[in-house]
């Protein structure tokens, strides 16, 4: 056969016959729901388009000039027009409600979800598992477990899309966004950046690998980097001197962070905010806007000093912080290490002096 037609065409035809997906795989718990809704939408589209086509074709045949030389003038019909206003309106409202339910479901992660962090940058995806496993342009997830992604971009807008899971969310600079899914079928699936992000936008792709829980555990063990995100965060917490103020002591200059994650915080301006990932990240970068009630606004900004990965480490650390024992422990050790040779004797005071020095350009506040 292929002797008679060009090889290119032959290749094309054989491809056509062998591998030609028309529908993406359903690999997450939400996918069947999204597809059910899609089929409903398709149904009303086909019926709607069908009615219009039937009308146009029937009238074209019945009332063509040759058959019906004289048109009958009709003003309109209130009844008919109301019908075809209200029926589409009702259908569209059904779509609205159904779509809204699905939307809230996709964008509201369950509380028991496992958290994985995603950092997007031109032009790669970095995934960070809580255990400290790092991946680039790939994501390994266990089957049957809800997984929430906390995502942020280092530069421009990106968009994290896994078509097989029917989920997608914009990855924005300067702000965390989240999306969640429960993978249901082991396999590898496409991962795309769908927001145009510059020259190599189309190379910002990768694979999502869904594994059985056993395989996933093996993978975790095999690709661990030695320290978990929280451990990295703890190190950073000490290195940046956060523990000097956020020590949990009664006289501490910063609020206690142990067990605080998820609670409602009253701010100095009287409003309340929930201490979530976004709150923590923004408090580190823009402390002036998140001063807790009862505390002086002395925290310096760490803008430009901590990378997005570092912020994730800190957030993950503070999230898991249940007691202040280790904070105080590291506080003491770090002060012994960093204190000047002359005055190593009174550690807490020198720490206070150091932290007061940090916001030097803000002048003297809070004497």
């Amino acid at each position: 056969m292929h002797y008679f037609i060009s090889p290119v065409l032959w290749q094309f035809l054989s491809k056509w016959l062998s591998q030609f997906p028309l529908f993406p795989p359903e690999a997450s718990s939400i996918a069947p729901y999204a597809d059910a809704f899609f089929f409903f939408l398709m149904l009303i589209s086909i019926v709607g388009t069908g009615i219009v086509m039937v009308m146009v074709i029937t009238f074209s045949i019945m009332y063509r000039k040759e058959k019906n030389p004289e048109a009958t003038q009709i003003e309109g019909s209130m009844l008919l027009e109301t019908t075809w206003t209200l029926i589409p309106l009702a259908l569209f409202l059904i779509c609205f409600v159904w779509g809204a339910l699905l939307y809230f479901r996709i964008y509201t992660p369950p509380t028991n979800a496992m958290n994985i962090y995603i950092v997007g940058k031109q032009w790669m995806w970095k995934a960070e598992h809580p255990g400290g496993q790092h991946e680039i342009d790939a994501l390994h997830v266990p089957e049957g477990r809800p997984i929430a992604l906390t995502m942020i971009s280092q530069d421009v807008f990106h968009s994290f899309s896994i078509p097989a899971f029917r989920v997608k969310r914009e990855v924005i600079p300067g702000r965390y966004t989240t999306v969640w899914f429960t993978p249901t079928k082991p396999g590898t699936y496409h991962l795309f950046c769908t927001q145009y992000c510059g020259t190599l936008h189309s190379q910002m792709i990768g694979w999502v690998t869904v594994m059985t829980p056993g395989d996933y555990q093996a993978w975790l063990n095999g690709s661990t980097s030695g320290t978990s995100l929280a451990q990295n965060g703890e190190r950073l917490f000490a290195a940046l001197g956060c523990n000097a103020c956020h020590s949990g002591n009664a006289t501490a200059r910063g609020p206690n962070l142990a067990g605080a994650y998820g609670s409602r915080v009253q701010l100095a301006n009287g409003s309340y905010e929930t201490m979530d990932d976004a709150f923590l990240r923004d408090s580190i970068l823009n402390p002036s806007m998140h001063v807790a009630a009862g505390y002086a606004p002395i925290m310096p900004t760490y803008q430009g000093q901590v990378s997005e990965e570092g912020l994730i480490d800190l957030v993950e650390y503070i999230k898991g912080l249940k007691t202040n024992d280790r904070v105080q422990q590291t506080l003491n050790t770090s002060l012994v290490q960093t204190s000047t040779p002359a005055g190593g004797q009174n550690a807490p005071q020198s720490a206070a002096a150091r932290s007061a020095k940090a916001p030097s350009h803000t002048g003297t506040v809070n004497q």
């Binding site: 402390p287 806007m289 310096p300 350009h361 803000t362």
Partner: protein, 246 residues
Amino acid sequence: MDSQTVIVPQSHAELEHEHSPHLHHHFANMGQQREASNFGMWLFLLTEIMFFGGMFTAYLIYRNWYYPAFVAGSHYMKMWAGTLNTVVLICSSFTMAMGVYSAEMRNRKNLIRYLSLTLILGFVFLGIKAYEWHNEWVEHHVPGLNFSINDFTHVDARYPTDKPLKVDMAEKTQIYFSLYFLLTGVHALHMVVGVSIIIFLIFTAWGGAYTTGHMNLIENFGLYWHFVDIVWIFLFPLLYLISRHQ
């Protein structure tokens, strides 16, 4: 012909058509022409409102977020200059209104007089504005080109009760100044356009162009001038008077 005829000559329109030299061929009469040009001007001002509306939206959002930075930034505005400029513009609106009135009264001398006064006031406004901008440049308050947060992180001698900003909030004063330059810049651009049109109007008014009853141009320009004035009336409190009562 029967009553279904579409086209009959319209005698009175034709008559008027011949009479006024200012009537464009496609209008039936002067009234229609005047109404059309006024209506067009109002639509154009609607466009202008949306134009400034975009910037005011940005202003409102950021002011809400970074209120302390906006307060600190506004304290570096020259109050006397802003107040004086407001007075100057209100006066110029008055002289402009008098100009329109003189045109209506067909008083050429007064028209030129009031237009010239408006022109002078326009230049005074632009001069004061230029002085302020120069000052901001000297003080390193021009975001992007010449900016330092130094002023905002220290206690200001003139506002000893003001708390200095932390670095993170002080950085946000750039947003305030960006919007300040954007809003006053676009406003000043409108003033420059207005001033150039006044110069043109004075020259043509000299030849007696608007004192023969045909004064659409003066009238519409008056609307424009008042609009630019009103924009400033919004800009002044939004940019200069934040938190002055404290």
